[in-house]
Symmetry: C2
């Protein structure tokens, strides 16, 4: 996996992992689902898939973007900025981002 989208030309798959502090799981889940609402909306037409899953305190988000511009748009959204602001209080460390290309 790649840690950046550099060199990607077509669609981009992003798998993000994040661990919540034990007492902040639902708070972090709310922030992630707000991002999902934006990602699934017409505000982010280039975000094709955004699925949030959880087990215990561990979150994994499976994301698909049309191109790099769609990734940048996503990361400029207010809901994403809200995540960045919420992480110090709700998460253990930062998110682990891994970029891939889908096999067809």
């Amino acid at each position: 996996m790649s840690a950046t989208t550099e060199g990607f030309t077509g669609r981009i798959i992003l798998v993000a992992e994040l661990e919540a502090k034990p007492d902040k799981v639902s708070e972090l889940e709310k922030v992630l689902l707000a991002i999902k609402a934006s990602a699934d909306s017409d505000a982010e037409p280039g975000c094709l898939t955004y699925r949030v899953s959880k087990f215990g305190t561990k979150f994994v988000i499976f994301e698909e973007y049309e191109n790099q511009a769609a990734v940048q748009l996503h990361m400029g959204a207010d809901t994403f900025k809200a995540l960045v602001n919420a992480i110090p209080d709700t998460a253990v460390g930062g998110p682990k981002l891994q970029y891939y290309e889908e096999c067809k």
Copy 2:
């Protein structure tokens, strides 16, 4: 994430990670795409999503199942058994399996 499906009651999300030996990437990709063909077919109605992605030698597979029985059916398929047989020759170590539940 959980390493097993124990305790899961509803739909199950599985994120599998696998690393190919540098000279076996396309061979392993073929085996994984054969699994995808079965998973997407009527032979596995309870497998709702099966997406294979890759960067370099690293594969991630995002999977969704109706229930535990669907996971068992998937892992009993000939195509899955072909993966198990191919792993020693094509992969670095074994697959890392992480089970989650989707947040809605």
